[in-house]
């Protein structure tokens, strides 16, 4: 492809939209992993549920997805609380060395349940909605309104969470728990409450992401799995529990896919994604953020 194309702001816009989506989905998972060491392989299914919330709100009442997003986030909080009361205290109590394998199993089970319940309730037929699909031209860049909304909301939420972590007491507490739960407890952080808050936030962000992505994706009960994989790739790449690192990694993957395709060929799109991930991990076994941490 030509150099004109590489320099095109159109590409930049697409890379940002894609990357912001990855960053947002990854951020939710990172909060849950960082504070609790839970491998939530059902994360993408929360995205799916959020997308259905947006779809039904739109189909039944005409409520546009950006306005349904808070509802999807609220559903995420409800599910987080239900999970917390029903299962997590048992899982977290079972000894640290088993948490990762066992949480993998629990969330794999939950994922299967949620997907199939959704299929029973909504059928597996793909759904889609049409909203905000006008194209706006700014400085030679064509942008679909829905994609602008996704970009802005995703960046705002990611930025808000990162700033909130630095600027608020709860944020500092979450950072402390991510860094070292035991030490945080010693200095008086209410670790169970902080974890619960992080779980709420993580699930809410996933639901919200789903509501936004419903504007541009087919919606179906089994749409979540690719988001789960993408979210894990993002947070591992950024360094587990490193929320800022994850956001950077998400954006990076958006750029790798868009610009990588422009520099090579579309057929390498997926290989670029996973290739970057694998290469970075082999060079830096703890993800991108590790090196930055040692320097600081």
């Amino acid at each position: 492809m030509t150099m004109d194309l590489i320099a095109s702001p159109q590409l930049l816009f697409s890379a940002l939209v894609l990357g912001a989506g990855y960053a947002l989905v990854g951020l939710g998972l990172n909060l849950v992993y960082g504070t609790m060491r839970l491998l939530n392989v059902g994360h993408g299914d929360l995205v799916m549920l959020g997308a259905y919330v947006a779809f039904w709100c739109f189909a039944l009442t005409g409520l546009p997805p950006p306005l349904a997003a808070p509802l999807a986030a609220a559903l995420g909080v409800l599910l987080a609380e239900a999970l917390h009361r029903g299962l997590l205290h048992r899982l977290l109590g079972a000894g640290a060395e088993r948490i990762e394998a066992n949480s993998l199993l629990v969330f794999f089970g939950l994922s299967i349940i949620v997907q199939n319940l959704a299929a029973l309730a909504f059928t597996a037929s793909p759904r889609a909605l049409r909203t905000l699909d006008d194209v706006v031209h700014v400085a030679g860049v064509a942008m679909t309104e829905s994609r602008i909304v996704i970009l802005l909301v995703a960046l705002a939420v990611c930025g808000g969470v990162l700033i909130g972590l630095r600027a608020t007491v709860w944020g500092l507490a979450i950072k402390a728990v991510i860094d070292n739960g035991r030490a945080a407890a010693v200095v008086g952080v209410d670790v169970p409450r902080v974890r619960r808050l992080a779980l709420w936030a993580g699930f809410a962000i996933a639901g919200l992401a789903g509501a936004l992505l419903a504007m541009v994706e087919q919606i179906g009960p089994f749409m979540g799995f690719p988001y789960t994989i993408a979210a894990f790739v993002v947070i591992i790449l950024g360094g587990l529990g490193r929320l800022g690192g994850g956001v950077v990694a998400g954006l990076l993957l958006g750029f790798v896919q868009v610009y990588g395709v422009a520099l090579t060929a579309p057929t390498f799109s997926s290989m670029l994604l996973y290739g970057t991930f694998v290469a970075v991990l082999l060079l830096r076994p703890q993800g991108l953020a590790r090196a930055a941490r040692i320097r600081s």
Partner: protein, 298 residues
């Protein structure tokens, strides 16, 4: 092995070998599934159970073995192609093993998942580049032959896994599971051991993949590189209790039987029931079947 256990194992093996003459054609397909999952899960446990390196990418080995057999179909006889599939899988594991096994914990889990996806897309691209868009396989062996071959691999996997557990290699891998730094400080060559075990745990899945590709007359890369296969292997091992030699066998057999019963009796809800079952396991038997069996001991 005690004499009693030896007799029991011999009887179980004789019974398993006689299955094609005892059950109908449909029963045979279930037995084939069981043999396949036992072979895969036990192989996985050679590294995953002893050293607790949870590979979520074993489908890469399965898929590579399948791809070798499919691409060499009617060029190489199966007695060559299937072991070759195993060798290719093992060689691949050996090649990526050194760098990959420096990565630990959840990073390793997701790294292996990523590698399997990378291999899947690489094979898809190769297939597209070759213009090999639809591969049909004619004259595949019947299920009886496939079953006996897969059963052989399952038994081989069990023997290899048992030998590994008894060997210095197995002891070293257990040390790795407990504390990698201490392990190498007392003299365990952890790098070599992990890579060797990783390769060993890849060979039989490669051969199993080669055999399973023959169950369907039509080859599609998305099917043999489906990440759900990796998830299922890990699920079976954890349900059985991966740290114990019997765990992966019990986990695989239990899930094959239970999911078959649920599937046949509740077509709408069996996946949901399976999900409930998995969660129930973690809640009520966090150490897997073997962990639960061992618990009464003080």
């Amino acid at each position: 092995m005690t004499p009693r256990a030896g007799i029991a194992a011999g009887a179980a093996l004789a019974l398993a070998g006689a299955v094609p003459w005892l059950v109908g054609p449909y029963g045979l397909t279930i037995a084939l599934n069981a043999a396949m999952w036992v072979a895969l899960t036990v192989s996985w446990s050679i590294l995953g159970g002893t050293a607790a390196y949870i590979s979520l990418g074993h489908v890469a080995f399965y898929g590579l073995g399948a791809y070798v057999v499919v691409t060499s179909w009617q060029v190489l006889p199966l007695v060559v192609a299937v072991p070759l599939g195993g060798l290719v899988a093992g060689a691949f594991a050996l090649t990526i093993g050194w760098p990959v096994l420096r990565v630990r914990g959840p990073y390793f889990v997701i790294l292996t998942l990523g590698i399997a996806e990378l291999v899947k897309y690489a094979v898809l691209n190769v297939e597209a580049a070759l213009g090999a868009s639809s591969r049909l396989l004619f004259g595949v062996p019947d299920n009886r032959t496939l079953y006996l071959a897969t059963l052989g691999l399952a038994v081989l996997a069990i023997i290899v896994a048992a030998l590994v557990r008894r060997s210095r290699l197995g002891a070293g891998l257990v040390a790795v599971r407990e504390d990698e730094v201490t392990a190498e400080t007392i003299g365990v060559p952890i790098g070599r051991y992990k890579v060797f075990a990783f390769a060993l745990s890849a060979v039989i899945p490669g051969m199993v993949g080669g055999l399973m590709a023959l169950r369907s007359a039509y080859f599609e890369p998305l099917q043999v590189f489906n990440p759900v296969i990796s998830f299922t292997i890990v699920t079976m091992a954890v349900v059985g209790g991966a740290a114990d030699a019997r765990g992966p066998i019990l986990g695989a057999l239990l899930l094959v039987v239970v999911s078959e019963l649920l599937w046949a009796n509740a077509p709408q809800g069996y996946m949901i029931a399976l999900g409930v079952l998995l969660i129930g396991f973690v809640v009520f038997a966090p150490g897997g079947i073997t962990g639960a069996l061992a618990r009464p001991r003080p």
